[in-house]
């Protein structure tokens, strides 16, 4: 005290006056300043990240002081992008910056919880002396008991449990289910491995070993752009964000870069200073418009029309009026534009047919059904260029893009038959912009070619078809527009009435985009995302936009091409991860089920389809008029899509029965089962979704908030899967009924016996679960992260050990597997089951069904042959009591080799290297002596060692393998980095730039920025498509039936808010019907971060819906008023945000706010308001269900129907009474 006083006195002398006497300079005690210095001080900084399906994949510094996680800031130490290039620092956004709040927050799940009704029954059973499996069986087999705990879901009443009881209950439920119904009634949903590969693998490895279903997510989320497999045969491959700096013309099209690609947006902003022009396309004045030079305000969902008009301008100006040599060379070598297509006559009208095949002309070619044909200008005859689907599988080494004949002579493909046309025919092109089934007739030049049987075929080129279809007049007869101002499809004037975008702007932007590409050899880029991708017709919107980058030679060029970002799907060390995740090292056969189909049936959404009234149209169609559930069932039986559960009969019993009937070999078992299927003695589960035998009995939800976030058709999830209180307002009596799928009068409710969520926070999913297990947060475990947006691989590290009773996902599933194996010893001896799998992309299955013809064995159109006209069948052994041993060690099957995308890596050496790096298991059992996989850290090391992206030897081995098929020299792509072998310690010291591996298509050598398909354009590697080139034309029967052979404009669906004749909610004043959109939000990544106090205070708290202020005022709303949003699917309560920034007629309820905070009841449904997905329902597009045909073949998260829910119409009205629905 005296000391302080003394110090004060010391400073009391008057200071010096300066600044004209205005300022006094005086010393003063400043010891207090240490206060803030102490706050800033910390004990350690730990590198970790956030695992949240965000594509950010940002590396963070986590500060720990006094053993407490205090805060986080972004790492700034990424490897450099080069001397004259902006860097990847810092990476991170406000959402990630708020994460540390969760560690000690009141939403933290600290202990295992079980709902009291269930826990009580369990304890009673156990106290009676029943063993766990018996206990579970007693509870779920008793309808009264089951009803009691199922109906309690979503109604509070959790009690604290412990890990042992929880694991026992889970293991018992699984064992009971396997015995009674089969292993494919155990299902797990966990999305986006790239966001935390090891935590993902924890659950999927377990499910793979027991034969459970693993659900896909990328397609279910509708983040998968189906156009990508359609055009390129590739799931998704896009430029890293730094490549945006290389572009010279950047169109941002329906992806809100500042808001959703926050850490990357600066590359776009900075490119502008380097001379890049930026154009923004969005229905609202989105944040990215701030950076645009021009804003094209296209109406929501009409992007395809805008793109088609731009395509029209580019084709006319840069191909017809002023042919641009760069574009033409590119089109010939890298696209299907020069390939020949038949023109078929039917009822006096001409339509486009399928690609001409080598087998049409002669029988000299191996796999001639799969070799497409061009017209060679050098020889003035047909030619069969390398690189087609046929070349991929014919065993030769000609799978490359070199334009040469067998004898090595050069092919110069003609793009057009216009100069040598033998006939002009009027072809009918589908035109559905205004009316489904319309056509336009336009003349095209054709040549006549004799097929091998001597028939005269009319053929044309894809190029000529594109010209005619898009309405570019070349003096040919037909319904062509006169000029840009002629409102015929697809001119700039035509699009104006659809999109409302000024036609002059369209002409200018299209022209500039192409001119820029011509000047820079392809540095024109288009960023696209959820705003353009989440629609029902996403594929057509995307294909129309992709026209622009393909026609301007911008794809496969640094600074050019598409830049699609929706979802963190890119697992860079993919081949190693896949081996661990699906326990391929033990040779287990995982059941990889496409999520969209699964949920469509599991949540009974198929019961709520709106009737479309078939009518006679010019473009008569067969499959258009089929119920999507019927197409899905067809797709399952033809082997196109996976379908689990497989059969109403238990897959274990089916094998047992076959064995009992004398089948000695696996093949005999399969034959006898297929025979029964043909006779209809075995039921397909997909055709009996409401049969209790087919219910998804045990459901795991981890790393996910399925019910609060991605569960589109939320109310259907609650009603049918969960059995909780729902607000479905639809009348199924008026629904469209499928023909082959059995619809019962009443949909089953509460299908799931046990719903388990594993999370560190309480979400809607937790609220509806039976068991909630506490997991470690991202700052409390070890894992790996990668993304599309940057080229690095970097880790999660534990800043503190998991507090309370939290366990990492790896440890949690290991515990479950341990208890499971113990119980299995008695209850589930080693057994066999039958496992079906679809015809897969990147395997010979993709040439199973030639000509894209749909032939149904059930109708006798073709023989039922597994792996050809129906799914593959395999007899698989399940060794249930050894699941724990297998979970925790690397199995010997690895030695046989591994890989994906048609590339195989040798496994022997890897297995030995793993032994060295991981050590071997000393635990007694079958795993003893195998590489040890006990901890998450060991799983990390395994993935790193096994993958080309993180291990130079693997990269070189991969390229060598691809050399065999392509005959190209590829080794050099990875040479020079061969010695690199990342470890966890390496990537913890600093994120490492991944290596070029053949699992991906970008070149990363010499500090180059990742740009997709540069491997294809620079090393002549084909795309994995029918022609081997980038596709404009898709000739599958169903595509043509839908009128979607070529990119075209299809308007958004206008279903809802009710179906005709449906009873609507009672009117209580003014309301407005709007297009309801759910773009990604600013204050969370999905539902994550939305609860943190920073995210709550930075806007308005939850939930909110944005709409135009005039629309709002018209129903008496003021800003921040309560509203309810509803339609036949359900009801939401929220507060309204009024603005003039978005146009009239639409509303944004940002995905995904969850309903856990501040949500009162609705007056429509009288229940707690739902989530943003309560008024949505998925509409799967049947064309995505095609399979067994080249790039239109199934791949997990790769191709398949997307769960699109964007095309929604809903009603908004004031919420008159705020009722918190408290007891």
């Amino acid at each position: 005290m005296t000391n302080k006083l003394f110090k004060h006195l010391k400073f009391l002398t008057p200071g010096e006056r300066i600044n004209d006497g205005f300022t006094e300079e005086s010393p003063r005690p400043r010891d207090w300043e240490k206060m803030y210095r102490n706050r800033w001080a910390h004990d350690k900084v730990v590198r970790s990240t956030h695992g949240v399906n965000c594509t950010g994949s940002c590396s963070w510094k986590i500060y720990v002081k006094d053993g407490i996680i205090t805060s986080e800031t972004q790492q700034t130490d990424y490897p450099s992008n080069g001397a004259d290039f902006p860097e990847y620092e810092p990476r991170g956004c406000p959402r990630g910056a708020s994460f540390s709040w969760y560690t000690y927050s009141p939403v933290r799940v600290k202990y295992p919880y079980i709902r009291s009704d269930l826990y009580q029954m369990w304890k009673e059973e156990r106290e009676l002396g029943h063993d766990p499996v018996k206990a579970w069986s007693n509870i779920t087999s008793d309808p009264v008991k089951r009803e009691k705990y199922v109906r309690a879901r979503g109604k509070g009443g959790f009690v604290r449990a412990n890990w042992r009881d929880s694991c026992e209950m889970i293991a018992s439920a699984i064992i009971h289910t396997i015995k009674k119904y089969g292993p494919d009634r155990v299902t797990g949903f966990s999305p986006i491995p790239a966001m935390s590969m090891v935590s993902y693998s924890a659950g999927t490895r377990f499910l793979s070993l027991i034969g459970g279903n693993i659900l896909s997510f990328y397609d279910w989320y509708a983040d998968l752009p189906p156009a990508s497999p359609q055009v390129w045969g590739d799931q998704t491959d896009v430029p890293e964000s730094a490549d945006w700096y290389n572009t010279k013309y950047f169109i941002i099209w329906g992806t809100n870069l500042p808001q959703t690609r926050t850490p990357d947006a600066h590359f776009m902003v900075e490119a502008r200073y380097n001379g890049t022009k930026v154009v923004g396309v969005s229905p609202d004045y989105a944040e990215y418009e701030k950076f645009a030079d021009v804003w094209l305000p296209a109406r929501a969902g009409t992007d395809g029309a805008l793109a088609m008009a731009m395509t029209h301008v580019v084709l006319k100006e840069f191909y017809v009026d002023n042919p641009t040599p760069y574009f033409i060379q590119y089109a010939k070598k890298f696209t299907d534009l020069p390939f020949l297509v038949t023109v078929d006559q039917k009822d006096g009208e001409y339509r486009t047919g399928r690609f001409l095949h080598a087998s049409d002309l002669n029988d000299n070619q191996e796999l001639g059904d799969w070799k497409t044909v061009v017209w060679d200008a050098n020889t003035n005859s047909v030619a069969f260029p390398n690189g087609t689907q046929g070349h991929r599988w014919d065993g030769d080494n000609k799978w490359n893009l070199n334009l040469e004949n067998e004898n090595g002579s050069t092919i110069n493909p003609e793009l057009s038959f216009l100069p040598m046309s033998e006939e002009t025919v009027q072809v009918e092109f589908p035109y559905f912009a205004h009316e489904q089934g319309d056509v336009v007739r336009r003349g095209i030049p054709v040549k006549h070619i004799q097929d091998k049987a001597g028939n005269n075929l009319r053929v044309t080129t894809v190029y000529d078809l594109m010209m005619a279809h898009t309405g570019v007049s070349r003096g040919l007869p037909g319904d062509y527009p006169v000029d840009y101002n002629d409102p015929k499809p697809y001119t700039p004037a035509w699009q104006e009435s659809i999109t409302s975008v000024n036609k002059q702007h369209v002409i200018q932007v299209a022209r500039e985009f192409a001119d820029n590409a011509a000047r820079t050899k392809g540095k024109s880029m288009i960023a696209m995302g959820g705003g353009t991708n989440h629609w029902y017709h996403s594929d057509q919107i995307y294909r129309s936009i992709l026209n622009l980058v393909l026609l301007t030679g911008s794809q496969g060029v640094n600074g050019g091409g598409w830049a699609h970002y929706v979802g963190q799907e890119k697992v860079r060390p993919v081949e190693g991860w896949q081996t661990v995740a699906f326990s391929k090292d033990w040779g287990s056969a995982p059941r990889l089920q496409n999520g969209t189909s699964f949920f469509y049936f599991a949540t009974d959404q198929y019961r709520y389809e709106e009737k479309s009234e078939p009518k006679e149209t010019q473009w008569g169609s067969k499959y258009q008029d089929m119920h999507p559930a019927d197409v899905n069932a067809l797709s399952a039986r033809l082997g196109w899509l996976p379908s689990y559960p497989q059969f109403s009969q238990n897959s274990i019993d089916l094998v047992k029965e076959a064995r009992e009937n004398g089948a000695t070999t696996d093949q005999a078992v399969i034959d006898s089962i297929v025979d029964k299927i043909k006779k209809g003695e075995i039921d397909w589960s997909i055709e009996n979704p409401d049969d209790p035998r087919n219910f998804p009995r045990v459901f795991f939800n981890w790393r996910s908030n399925l019910l609060g976030d991605s569960g589109k058709g939320h109310e259907y999830f609650v009603k049918h899967l969960i059995g909780g209180d729902d607000q479905v307002l639809a009348d199924t009596g008026l629904s469209w009924k499928p023909e082959t799928v059995n619809v019962k009068d009443k949909g089953a409710e509460g299908k799931s016996d046990l719903f388990v969520s594993i999370d560190f926070r309480m979400t809607s999913s937790g609220l509806f679960s039976d068991i909630v297990l506490p997991t470690a947060t991202w700052y409390e475990k070890f894992d790996l992260s990668t993304t599309d947006l940057h080229p690095f691989i970097h880790p999660f590290n534990a800043a503190i050990s998991p507090p309370w009773e939290a366990k990492s996902d790896w440890d949690g599933f290991r515990e479950i597997s341990k208890v499971f194996s113990e119980l299995a010893k008695e209850h589930l001896p080693e057994t066999e089951e039958i496992v079906t799998s679809p015809l897969g992309h990147d395997s010979k299955d993709e040439i199973a069904q030639p000509n894209g013809k749909i032939l149904d064995w059930r109708k006798g159109e073709v023989e039922a042959i597994p792996g050809k006209t129906m799914p593959n069948f395999a007899v698989v052994k399940r060794d249930y009591s050894n699941v724990y041993q297998k979970m925790t060690t690397i199995g010997p099957n690895l030695k046989k080799g591994y890989g994906m995308k048609g590339i195989k890596l040798p496994g022997d050496k890897v297995y030995e290297e793993l032994k060295e790096r991981l050590g071997v298991s000393k635990r007694e059992g079958i795993g003893k002596g195998h590489p040890d996989l006990y901890t998450d850290i060991k799983a990390i090391e395994t993935i790193l060692l096994m993958s080309g992206a993180s291990n130079g030897k693997r990269a070189v081995e991969g390229w060598e393998n691809l050399e065999l098929k392509t005959g190209q020299k590829l080794r050099e792509i990875a040479e020079g980095r061969e010695e690199e072998a990342f470890t966890l310690a390496d990537i913890t010291a600093q994120p490492r730039q991944t290596l070029s591996s053949p699992m991906w298509s970008g070149l990363e050598k010499d500090g180059r920025r990742y740009s997709p398909f540069t491997v294809n354009t620079e090393y002549s590697i084909p795309w994995r498509t029918l022609t081997g080139r980038q596709s404009f034309y898709l000739d599958h029967e169903m595509m043509l039936d839908y009128g979607e052979g070529l990119p075209t404009y299809l308007p958004p669906l206008t279903k809802g808010p009710y179906v005709k004749g449906e009873k609507e909610a009672e009117s209580n004043g003014p309301s407005i019907t709007i297009r309801y959109l759910t773009p990604h939000q600013k204050w969370g990544i999905h539902t994550m971060f939305t609860e943190t106090s920073a995210m709550v205070q930075l806007f308005r708290g939850w939930q909110t819906v944005w709409m135009n202020e005039k629309d709002g005022n018209s129903i008496g709303l003021k800003d921040n008023d309560w509203i309810e949003v509803y339609n036949r699917n359900g009801a939401i309560s929220a507060r309204v945000v009024l603005t003039y920034r978005i146009p009239k007629g639409m509303a944004y309820m940002h995905h995904a706010q969850d309903r856990t905070m501040g949500v009162p009841g609705t007056t429509v449904g009288k229940k707690r308001g739902g989530t943003h997905n309560s008024v949505t329902r998925i509409t799967a597009k049947p064309t995505h269900m095609i399979g067994g045909y080249s790039q239109l073949s199934y791949g997990f998260n790769y191709y398949g129907p997307t769960g699109s829910q964007r095309d929604t119409i809903a009603i908004i009205r004031p919420l008159k009474e705020v009722n918190w629905l408290e007891n």
């Binding site: 991170g92 939403v107 109604k155 490119a271 305000p297 202020e1109 800003d1119 009024l1138 905070m1157």
Partner: protein
């Protein structure tokens, strides 16, 4: 000449993506404790809009900053006499309504809810009263991205002062972001407002602080600062404000808000100025002259005379070098693209801003009108009215803004011409001339604004702790002063170093 050095900041608004990361990292570092809920040392405002606290630019209401009265500089809120009169009641201070009632949620209910009829929910709860509230009514960023539309936007005081009509219509929408921290002014009115002398401007780096031991909670600083950047902590009953992260800058690190800025819009560097010119600069008659007057206080760090004087004033070589390499010097003084926020408040703020570009208006449809050069739109067709930017950054002088926008545009046009071509050479050279830029300067600008390497954005010499007493003692006792003998090393009975 009285040379002083200050660490200053420039925010390049054209780069701002409005993400608020700066606000969050700042908050987790400094103000996530009871009493500071509503404190945002750093906040980001969507403009047009009322800002935070609401309508803070309305000085008729808050009476912040300085004014000229009879040619004399005085606090707008009045001098010591009127202060004393109102010491227990400050009529100009912002109220809870101008800020907001911070809220949280009853999160525990999600896990702890007993068996109930309905799905449990976490209801909103006031952090002031602890009572349930139906819904929050205002927040620190309530109007993000024009939320609230024409109910809220017109509250922006800048709009109210504009001649030009601002259409609040879909087609004519414009917006920009304005991130704000304490301005660490050369002529801080908060310091002058404090009856206790608790606020001070640090001599060595110009950072303005509230002494947490001296503050008596009178709260005259909260509105005395025209930027309303001093907050009152209801828990400690003291004022707190942005401290420019001095614990970091002293170590040569950028502020938290700067390092974590993912738009990479922030630049920090040293500025040398003549403290003897401050009063005169703040006293110029015409508010539109304040910008030039403040520039006039700044010193050329390459001028030998300045260097000599600086050395005499005890400013070491690293700081002089820092001033020479300072990105602030380049942007504010050399290229004149950064401008002070509301210079008319006469506080001579030290956080400056580069005004943003914006898209052209869509009603420009004539093809010839679309471009000056074929690709990059012309300044006068941009959406954000120049008058609006002038109201923020140049006391209404639109020519100042126009000049900056011309420079940014000329830079883009030139770089496009170099990298792509297709630009009319004649028009390009005319544009460069009008903008007053040569090619060398443009390339320097692209490097700093576009490439923007970390060590070029942030040039921060470490704190001059060598000026402290008894550093040998501090080395050992650092952060343990409570344990170490308070008198320092003199208590050793033996010679140091022996």
């Amino acid at each position: 000449m009285k040379i002083k050095a200050q660490v200053a900041m420039v925010m390049h608004l054209d780069k701002c993506i409005g993400c608020h990361t700066c606000s969050v990292t700042c908050k987790s570092t400094w103000t996530n404790r009871p009493g500071t809920e509503y404190m945002w040392f750093n906040n980001v405002e969507t403009r047009p809009g009322p800002g935070y606290p609401k309508e803070w630019e309305n000085q008729d209401r808050y009476k912040g900053g300085w004014e000229l009265k009879n040619g004399k500089l005085r606090l707008k809120a009045g001098g010591p006499v009127s202060k004393l009169k109102n010491i227990f009641y400050n009529p100009n201070m912002g109220t809870l309504e101008d800020y907001y009632e911070p809220w949280t949620y009853d999160y525990e209910n999600l896990l702890n809810s007993p068996k109930s009829e309905n799905l449990p929910v976490a209801r909103p709860k006031s952090m002031i009263t602890g009572k349930y509230m139906d819904k929050p009514e205002w927040g620190s960023n309530w109007d993000d991205d024009l939320a609230g539309g024409s109910e809220v936007v017109p509250l922006d005081p800048n709009i109210q002062h504009m001649q030009e009509h601002i259409a609040m219509e879909y087609e004519k929408t414009f917006m920009m972001y304005l991130p704000r921290i304490c301005e660490h002014c050369l002529n801080p009115s908060c310091v002058a407002s404090c009856p206790s002398g608790a606020l001070y401007k640090r001599d060595e780096d110009g950072i303005v602080l509230v002494d947490q031991e001296e503050c008596r909670g009178w709260r005259f600083c909260t509105n005395g600062c025209p930027y309303n950047k001093v907050y009152y902590n209801w828990n400690t009953h003291k004022a707190e404000k942005c401290n420019f992260c001095y614990p970091r800058t002293e170590a040569g690190l950028p502020t938290i808000c700067s390092e974590t800025c993912v738009g990479r819009i922030r630049y920090i560097g040293v500025v040398l100025y003549d403290a003897d010119k401050v009063k005169a600069a703040a006293t110029v008659e015409d508010p539109q002259d304040l910008y030039e007057a403040q520039l006039d206080c700044f010193l050329d760090p390459f001028d030998p005379e300045v260097i000599e004087e600086a050395e005499k004033a005890g400013i070491n070589n690293e700081w002089i070098k820092g001033a020479q390499e300072s990105p602030i010097y380049k942007m504010a003084m050399k290229w004149k693209i950064a401008l002070p926020l509301h210079p008319e408040y006469r506080t001579l703020p030290m956080v400056w801003y580069v005004p943003p570009l914006s898209p052209i208006m869509n009603h420009v449809t004539n093809e010839d009108e679309l471009n000056t050069d074929g690709y990059i739109p012309a300044v006068d067709q941009m959406r954000i009215p120049i008058e609006y930017l002038a109201s923020l950054l140049s006391a209404g002088d639109t020519e100042v803004i126009r000049n900056v926008l011309l420079k940014l545009t000329a830079m883009r046009v030139h770089m496009r011409s170099v990298n792509v071509g297709g630009i009319d050479e004649l028009q390009e050279s005319k544009l460069l001339e009008e903008a007053g830029l040569d090619v060398e300067t443009i390339e320097e600008m692209v490097r700093l604004l576009g490439v923007a390497k970390y060590d070029e954005r942030f040039v921060i010499p470490t704190g001059r702790r060598e000026m402290d007493d008894d550093l040998h003692y501090k080395q050992g006792a650092c952060s343990l002063e409570d344990l170490a003998p308070p008198e320092g090393m003199v208590t050793y009975p033996f010679e140091r170093g022996s």
